[in-house]
Symmetry: C2
Subunit: 298 residues, 2 copies
């Protein structure tokens, strides 16, 4: 599983930071969270194909989080995409996508299913689930939680003792299907270990620190939290409905997260170390995201 | 006068080339020609402020030439712009700009005047004029010509001989206003030299080589011509209504242009030297544009 920071700026881009976008390369696909202008080019830099994106999750409808959608959709069309694309976002996202269809001449041979969200579980697949919660910004913002569903360990020794031959029956049992061996039904739970906790990653989008986010991020392996400002600008953060690095660190602490990654950095901070230092005073395992940074998650 | 290549790719961006956009820094402003996705960030790289852009000229309504408009407009709003913005483009541009107004939450405190063009002179200012001509692409495409209006030289010696005192009267005469000296009217033509040809720059947008472009580009100092393909792909160029480097060179030759700059380069060409070499066989003063390349024009 790879967490890829495609864009880490706030509001306007800088020389080093593009608009917001995060890719999660996992479960055989690329899942996009936010899609600021220039996201498709950031993907090119890392050789990530937009054709592998089936689901885009938008936190809120500010331009720096959505203006890469038109380009990525048109490029998918240009490359001959056939597979459906899902776009999840706050109420209003449907009108945004409708309007995007009027931006010049292009041909699409795939469907776009737009999901206006209101909190709760959005995707519940075999390998992962995605949940969202409404958090606190100047306009509706949803934070997202991605939870890996990790299979229990397959107890090979126990399976052999029960007379199961190594081969397809092993696979069936690990996948959750019972098998019959010598007239006896063997259930998956007979040969599977304890339930295992999968990876949990939470992304805030733009928000004030808040309980809804703490709840969503509880026990997360990685909390990606916006940190538009440094600790010296709490008023500015409150006024613009953003967070400081220290506020983000407090959320990580209260949510008992394992790691905090700060993103959505204001262009006023030329050096991000100051934000990292400020967060670390409260939550030790903090770091600041940089554009095109790849975090291997396991 | 500086000609700045902000994006030089075709259709999709590459690691080295962003979507189409050219800035002309002249006459106290920045004039934009095309505005592909990511243009505002390319401007950041060169410290060019979008606040200095008063006129945007769009060649045609393909995404790689227009999808930077939403971001640049929203950034202008974010920075508190008050001055009117003019956007010129083919019929349909008004609907594009209308739809851009639905792309999320943002506030604009300036007017946008959209001009749907049909050929001819679009701007006729004191210092320059901009003219366009419909050329040949798969959808309506307009090529643009920017013509500097250069004042005749002020003949200082002659002015002194006529009894004019150095000072405001010199300025008035150079600006085209008559003055009275010792009861005698001195006309501007009495103290001005021969008419001088100003710089002429022509930008093709996406087009097949065609007479309309040759006419528009006649005697241009710089012809910026698309060169999506190399000479080995004439069929591909014809099929997609683009040009090869050799076709662009032929246009430059027939238009008696002084310099040819190739742009809109397909991602298939990793090294642009092959295009340059191919153009130079026909038109010697040819070069290939690179992203963030600045050409000083005088």
């Amino acid at each position: 599983m790879e967490l890829i920071f495609l864009g880490t700026s706030s509001a306007v881009p800088s020389k080093y930071r593009n608009h917001s976008a995060i890719a999660l390369k996992a479960f055989g696909e690329i899942i996009l969270f936010d899609c600021g202008e220039g996201t498709q080019r950031q993907m090119v830099q890392l050789k990530l194909s937009p054709m592998k994106v089936n689901n885009i999750f938008i936190t809120h409808l500010h331009g720096d989080h959505i203006l890469g959608i038109p380009g990525i959709i048109q490029s998918m069309g240009f490359r001959g995409r056939k597979e459906k694309l899902n776009i999840y976002g706050p109420p209003g996202i449907a009108m945004v996508i409708d309007s995007i269809m009027n931006l010049g001449y292009f041909t699409l041979n795939f469907n776009i299913e737009v999901h206006e969200i209101d909190g709760g579980i959005l995707i519940d697949e075999k390998e992962y689930a995605i949940e969202c919660a409404k958090t606190e910004h100047s306009i509706p913002n949803f934070s997202y939680s991605i939870i890996e569903k990790k299979k229990p360990r397959f107890l090979r020794k126990k399976a052999l003792e029960l007379g199961i031959e190594p081969g397809p029956d092993f696979g069936k049992l690990h996948a959750g299907t019972s098998v019959e061996v010598n007239g006896k039904i063997i259930k998956p739970e007979d040969v599977l270990g304890e339930p295992r906790k999968g990876i949990k990653i939470v992304y805030s989008g733009d928000t004030r620190p808040c309980d809804a986010l703490i709840d969503l991020a509880m026990d997360a392996d990685i909390l990606i939290h916006e940190s538009t400002f440094q600790a010296d600008s709490p008023d500015k953060a409150e006024e613009t409905c953003h967070s400081t690095a220290q506020e983000a660190a407090n959320v990580a602490l209260q949510a008992r997260a394992k790691k905090l990654i700060l993103t959505h950095i204001s262009t006023r901070y030329k050096k991000s170390k100051i934000l990292e230092k400020s967060a670390k005073e409260i939550f030790k395992n903090s770091m600041v995201a940089e554009d095109l940074m790849v975090v291997k998650v396991k």
